[in-house]
Symmetry: C2
Subunit: 118 residues, 2 copies
Amino acid sequence: MDAPFRGNLLAPPAATGSEEVVQTIDQSSHTRIERIVSNGQCSPPGFWYDQDEHEWVTVIAGQAKIRFDDHGDESIIHLRPGDHLTIEAHRRHRVEWTDTEEPTIWIAVFYDNRPDKI
Amino acid sequence: MDAPFRGNLLAPPAATGSEEVVQTIDQSSHTRIERIVSNGQCSPPGFWYDQDEHEWVTVIAGQAKIRFDDHGDESIIHLRPGDHLTIEAHRRHRVEWTDTEEPTIWIAVFYDNRPDKI
């Protein structure tokens, strides 16, 4: 059987320049694991994510700010390496800012909460 | 609504000394996300994990070695920060070694592959 080693999350994607890169690392019926590498990208003006799935997200390099569609400045969360949070399905949010000095590397796990239908 | 910030994966768990700490960060019907902090622990002699779920795992601090029940030395994978791999359900494996100099911090996502039963 081949060695199962799959690579390093911190290694920059090859030849991508300054684009944002989204890679699906693993996925199954109810779960999707992504690595996202941002290079200063943020969500377009006025854009809000409104997802059917829950999302658990962490930043392992760089920095980012996520804004929630709540009230006031306190709804911006500044994520530094190791910071993590869960964004429940349909909680509106956007990426307000990512680091422009170095790549920001995210791990995001999308999962749903549907019970088994028996 | 409360701020959704959940903490920092790299921050050592409070007052745990040198025990191994397993924390469930998030879970749903088909998905479980764990943070594991090892301090030199490894699997007991002769012990093999044989899991019903797939596991995606990464090390974000420290180092670890996972042995697979395959053939030869090449079945040991040395994980350094950012290294990640997927361990398919029922692929027998064990934690052969974790760093004794600093805590090893793992993120593990367990997920199943059962289709919806409609």
